[in-house]
Amino acid sequence: MRNYSLTIRVLAACSLISLCLPLRTIAEVSDEDFAKLKAMVEDLNTQVQTLKTTHEEDQATIEKLQQKVGRTEETAADAKQEATAATAAATAAAQATPAPSNATHDFMVVGDAEVQFGQVIHPNQHAAFTLADFAPIFLFRTADNVLFETGFDVTLSNNAPNGTGYATNIDLSFATLDYMYNDYLTAMLGQLLLPLGTYNERGAGWLNKFPDDPLSRQVLPENGAGIELRGAFPLGQEGQSLTYALFGVNGPSSVDTSSSANQLDLFGNVGVQSNGVQGNLHEHPAGGGRIGWFYPWKPNYDVELGISGEFGPWDNAQTSLWYAAVADAAVHISPFAEIKGEYMNTWVQSGDMGTIQPRGWWIQGGYKLAGLNLDVPFVSNIELVARYDTVKDGLLEGVGTGTDRISGGFVYYITNTLWFEGDYEWLHSYGPNALPSQAYIFQMSYGF
């Protein structure tokens, strides 16, 4: 009974509370406010839904972007690899042997040019620019074994003897068609530089370390029209070789057709014949050749020896012979020192003086001061040179002319092909065509 009354009392309390609470709520939130709150909650719910949708879309976009970033990184990595490979390939290509030209034809121009300034000291003359020389060599390769080469000498000389101001000369030094039959035989046809000694072929203006030629070269012809066979045989493993050259050319002739000694013309058996026709003045050509031996015991240390000669009739009656013998030698001792020279003797059979012997020789030495290892500006670019040369025309004393000359000079190497040269010359000369006793010459040479 006691539990029953408690239950009744609790129920009564709850009923009382339930009656009181709705009255209090009604009193604090009106329907209008509730509706507003409801609308607000619905708006918020809508916004939340919108945000949720936007978030999901953003997530999808982010995933796509992440995928793109991944692919971009892969692409970048691939590009980096390709760039690395390309760089390596380019480097390898740069280091590799360049592809040789497959062109079967090629034309090019090389050669040299010189300008001289000089003065004869005794007997005294005014100093002057005495020579300008342009000597191009045209090379035309038409096949792997065929080459046409020609060299000109275009010179401008002051003090033209029979004109005003100056004289311009154009000479054809050589013009040959070279056919390399095999490794040991080359045939040359045309105007040849004659292999009498080595100076003719290897003494072009900028190669000679003096501004002028050795006097003794004037007893020999420089060139001739004809044919030449030449070649070289290697000997052993160290660069040693044996060389040969054999030629037949028109040869020397007589200026006035006679065999008088002073009528010898070394430079060509071609002219106007007695019948007015241009051609050989006599029917017999001249022949000659050279053999040489070259021995290098190491780079920049070598010796070369050679003997050469030529012979043939020279007067129109073909009763007189001209012949020549030449010995040449060259030695290199280190990259800085060299000695070279030639001896030449010729015999001229004549109708008025018997057999005369125009002859001479020269020897030349050079030393590059770079070999002293001096730490002085410009000095290492200098090479000191000295030369002795002599020539005699072979005529009897009192009638003939002879000259001995001592020359001392220098070469200043501005570049490997641009040289400034100079020398002072002391001459002892006698006879009707004696030369001045002292002179100096400066020359700017350029090989191209």
Binding site: T97, P98, A99, P100, N102, A103, D106, M108, L139, R141, A143, D144, N145, L147, E149, M180, Y181, N182, D183, Y184, L185, M188, E201, R202, W206, L207, G231, A232, F233, P234, L235, G236, Q237, E238, G239, S241, L242, T243, Y244, A245, L246, G287, G289, I291, P296, P299, N300, E304, G309, F311, P313, T319, S320, L321, Y323, A330, H332, Q349, N416, T417
Partner: protein
């Protein structure tokens, strides 16, 4: 004169060792078959190597050594970059003839100059 003089001159020349050696050299050289001048062209180089039975072993010096040995005999050394490989081919034909260089040595020099030309 002078048939006597002329005969004596011929005799002087032909009896000299120079003339005899030259004639022998020409005859000897002409017995070898034709070969192209292999100036850096691989094809022609191969032809030359296979078509000539070299009576003397080719020397073993490098192209650089041969360049130093031969070129500085007559002039200052020229830099490989001065010319293109094709121009070097033409120039070396010229120098082989002018300086009478052995063909195989000229080829080695040419190969070296072309490799170093960088053109």
């Amino acid at each position: 004169m002078s048939s006597l003089h002329r005969r004596s001159a011929w005799k002087l020349w032909l009896s000299g060792s120079g003339g005899a050696i030259l004639i022998a050299a020409i005859l000897y050289a002409s017995t070898y078959p034709s070969s192209l001048y292999a100036g850096g062209d691989g094809k022609s180089e191969q032809k030359s190597d296979t078509s000539v039975s070299n009576p003397v072993k080719a020397q073993k010096l490098s192209g650089e050594d041969l360049y130093t040995i031969h070129c500085s005999r007559c002039h200052s050394q020229r830099y490989p970059k001065e010319w293109t490989p094709g121009q070097w081919k033409t120039l070396m034909m010229h120098m082989r003839v002018r300086a009478n260089l052995p063909a195989d040595q000229a080829r080695e020099i040419l190969k070296y100059m072309q490799e170093q030309s960088g053109n």
